[in-house]
Amino acid sequence: MATAPGAPRALELLAGAATGLLAGAAVVALEAAQGMTAGPSALPEAELGVAPLLALSVLAGAVFAAVFRHRPGGLAATVVGGLVAGFIWWVVRSLTLLPLLAGEPLTWSLAEATAAFPFLVGDLLFGGLLGLGLHAFVSLYLRLRPAAARAPEPKGRPPTRVVVLGGGFGGVAVAQGLERRLAGATGVEVTLVSDSNYLLFTPMLAEVASGSLEPRHISAPLRAACPRTVLRRAQVEGIDISARTVWLRETATDPAVPLLYDHLVLALGGVPDYRAIPGLAEHAFALKTLEDAAGLRDHLIGLLERADAETNVEERRRQLTVVVTGGGFAGAELVAELFDLVHGVLHHYPHLERGELRFVLVHSRDRILPEISDGLAAYALAKLRDKGIEFRLSRRVAALDPEEVELDDGERLSTRTLVWTAGNRPHPLLADLPFTRSRAGAVVCDATTQVADTSSVWAVGDCAAIPDPDAPGTDYPTTAQHALREGAVTAVNIAGTLQGRPARPFRYRSVGMLVVLGHQQAVAEIRGLRFSGLTAWLLWRGIYLAKLPGLERKVRVLLDWTLDLFFPRDIVVVPPARRSADLPGGRDQLERAA
């Protein structure tokens, strides 16, 4: 139990009881001398004789010792603590219990207090003597047995180690859930491994790409989100299931170090899936990290700067065309935000005209936003078309080079910016693991988010293929709201496994979906209710602001949005730091900005 230094609990109780006896005897004697132990104002227990009174005192002493424990050097605190206990005991016994036992109404009136005042003095004396005696007894014991004052040796059993790989929504949900469930336990250590020291709030990434939010405002420090978790900022090099070891590498040049685990949670997330289309991996932009979003914004503004001075018409058109692949939530939001960005800062560039700007969304199906209903999807398509965004539906990208993109029907769009949001696949590390994987590449799990046929490995989020009982044969979609709740259930199940309780299956029905489509436009579907336009936009902002982790971030994002109302978007581009090759460990970095 407690590993606190000091006298053993039993001794404290004994000292309290002994002191209670002595102090009680003294106080009872004084009370008897005043005639307080007989007569109408006496306590009911006094009528039974002195022995029950003393027995009560012994009990009170033991209780006091249990609550106001001995503190080394805290003589004054213990004595005064006893006095305070005497006050409280007087209010509870004389003013409350006594009338209750006598069957009288409880009034706590001054007259009652006046009549009971002598017992207050007695209780105060009793409490003070208790504190004094307890402290004196225990201090004497510790003086005679100094060995007891040292902290006892820690137990030989090492703590159970839970390792969570990945600091995204799923991983942080697991860590926070474990913190809550294992709050008082000291035999478990939870480690979170992430390649960044922050939790990225991905729904607002498109707004960072368009410059309406600052990058740091949508990221919460992991150490603040999970204060009781050990955080390791490192890349996962490899996982050795048989040896229950994870290999970590702090930076590219450091050696790999092992991290042992008893329970492992895979929450590594996904990476863009370029499907071996030529040119994508080298030239396409992704939108998965803060660097992606900030880099995309810098790239676009850099292109505007170049285009403003560009004399070649062909080249200028290429610089002012933006192609986004993928008509899901990320793609639709991004193309609308980038549209607003470029149009919002256009007035700074005198040689550019609106007609020269071109935004194209390429989608492989005939309908964008597949997860929401037909009506809302059609509405969204119409609204985006009205803004001036072009669509290439039922088309795919066939090849990409720095100057143009080729679609599968042969059309070529000349552009210097192609953003890929058309597909993710689970983290490549999963391919090396000896687990069954789904067609998408995620690890197959059972309903409790535990990896099939294991007892100590769990998976959440993009890494996991968890069967959906409401749609048999399919898995839960890989969205942030699913990852959050899967993480919470995994935490419950891991805590349950450690404490001997059965695991709970994961079951979740999506609450709703919200898509923002640029300036004050959005569509939302919440539990069957549909919203569009300004209402949906306010809903989107309100709901996602509430989900943003941390009060400070909420305030900062709210400030950013408020300032956006009054001030134009910023076109300042800060190129990434260039280190000269002479500096140790430095290397030249290519700049994407102009």
Binding site: L30, G74, A76, A77, L110, V121, L125, V230, E552
Partner: protein, 488 residues
């Protein structure tokens, strides 16, 4: 403790006891208590009584020095240890041992307490002076030195506190009259006297706490206890002496002066609050990150969670208070706050108030309770503070009347006081239970257990238990002794 540390503690303590004894002895002369003391050695002469008294004072002072040897030094801490010590010795010595040694029967009834009330005030003064001198004699320890800036900020805080209170209570009500003697004076004189009182209160508090502790709640409660001390020193002692009325320490005189006590309590609390606010603002604006400690995370950090926990704890305390309220039939009065009369409305209003006050407790006292005892102590103290501010001040004012501060009104409101104490105790305990698993937040689980012990030890080096004791004294002893009819 070993001999050297013991000697190091005894000598300053004896000096402090001598100083306190001189002050108490000076008060004993006009009160005519010296012959009683002299009877300990079977004589009647006042001079012998003085010598005996001083001897006892020195011995008790040495005891105080030994008792608080391990506690944190600094006048703000030893002052409260001294107050608690002095008050305890009134119970132990004056009410119990003195009659025993003098061969008289021990008498703990209220009548005896009323007869011995001047002695209680004397003991409190003794304790306060001994505590302050002890701090000086022991050296400042780790406390900050009071600079001119600190004194200036304290004075400003005091003046602002008086101004705020006058605005709150209205010019028509003269509660901050320095003493009852001020009642008849022209308003200009009274205003000047109040300003002087505020200045003295502010500067005094600043000297006690040059660097107020980071937590708001304990500072507030310390201010309340400080207000009580101010009342004893100023309203009951210094001002009557200056006005030539002599030492007005008898129960009947103090009962008349009881009406100024709530004002002083509120003044002390306001001074503490403003001093802390001004000090924190100063540090926020002008001190760098290196000077701020680990606890200075900023007002926004963890606040939401504390508010939530406090609100839940407030409900728990409020339910406890409801039991009292139902018994004394108070719900109708609470309902009158919103213009209704039904008990159910009163219950709803009462719960709403409990939640809000509980949330404020959470904000003020987060990370300040390390075991159930401290939760109980701070909570009960907060309950008393809200009795003074709410039940006898704001409630009557909101219902269209004036603050009910007289001794008779306080006697009528005594059940409400018990209810407030119960509310506070429940609030503090439940809040501690909700917070205990997660505080302090920056430690990993493996460090937690050892740190928990360390923190408990650390917080008990402050005078917090003494502050709780003084508050409970103000709450339970003073009203009972003063408001009970004479000869009860």
């Amino acid at each position: 403790m070993n001999g050297a540390a013991g000697r190091a503690a005894v000598l300053p303590g004896a000096l402090a006891g001598l100083a306190g004894g001189l002050v108490f002895g000076a008060a004993m002369v006009p009160l005519g208590m010296l012959p009683t003391v002299a009877s300990l050695v079977r004589t009647d002469a006042a001079a012998v009584g003085l010598v005996v008294h001083l001897a006892v004072a020195v011995a008790l002072g040495a005891g105080l020095g030994l008792l608080v040897a391990g506690q944190r030094s600094g006048p703000g801490e030893t002052l409260f240890w001294g107050l608690a010590y002095g008050a305890s010795w009134w119970f132990l010595g004056s009410l119990t041992l003195l009659p025993l040694v003098g061969g008289r029967p021990v008498d703990w009834s209220v009548a005896a307490a009323q007869a011995g009330f001047p002695s209680l005030l004397g003991h409190l003064l003794y304790g306060a002076v001994a505590g302050l001198v002890l701090a000086l004699a022991r050296g400042r320890g780790e406390g900050a030195r009071p600079t001119a800036g600190v004194v200036l900020r304290g004075g400003l805080a005091g003046l602002a506190a008086v101004a705020a209170l006058v605005v709150l209570l209205g010019p028509g009500f003269e509660p901050l009259a320095l003493s009852i003697g001020m009642r008849g004076r022209p308003s200009g004189v009274a205003a000047a006297a109040n300003a002087l009182l505020g200045l003295v209160a502010g500067v005094g508090f600043a000297l006690l706490y040059p660097r107020p502790p980071a937590a708001a709640g304990p500072t507030l409660v310390r201010g309340t206890a400080y207000g009580f001390l101010l009342w004893v020193v100023a309203a009951l002692t210094v001002v009557p002496l200056l006005e030539g009325a002599g030492l007005t320490w008898s129960v009947s005189q103090v009962r008349d002066g009881f009406v100024t006590l709530p004002g002083y309590l509120l003044l002390g609390t306001a001074v503490a609050l403003l001093h802390r606010t001004v000090g924190r603002l100063w540090r926020l604006l002008f001190s760098g990150p290196a000077q701020r400690g680990a606890e200075d995370e900023g007002p926004g950090a963890r606040g939401l969670r504390a508010v939530g926990r406090g609100a839940v704890a407030g409900i728990a305390g409020g339910l406890l208070f409801t039991v009292v309220m139902v018994q004394i039939g108070f719900l109708g009065t609470v309902a009158a706050l919103v213009g209704a009369t039904s008990d159910l409305t009163g219950f709803a209003v009462h719960l709403a108030i409990s939640v809000v006050i509980g949330a404020s407790y959470g904000l003020a006292f987060r990370a300040q309770t390390y075991d159930p005892a401290s939760g109980l102590g701070w909570g009960a103290a907060y309950g008393l503070l809200w009795w003074v501010l709410g039940a006898i001040t704001l409630l009557p004012v909101l219902l269209g009347g004036t603050p009910q501060w007289s001794a008779a009104a306080a006697a009528d409101a005594f059940p409400s006081l018990v209810g407030h104490l119960a509310y506070g105790a429940g609030l503090g305990l439940v809040y501690h239970a909700l917070e205990a698993r997660f505080s302090p937040w920056w430690l990993t689980r493996s460090q937690l257990e050892s740190q928990r012990v360390e923190r408990r030890r650390e917080v008990l080096l402050t005078a917090a238990p003494a502050v709780w004791f003084v508050i409970l004294l103000v709450a339970l002893v003073i009203p009972v002794v003063l408001a009970a009819p004479a000869g009860a």
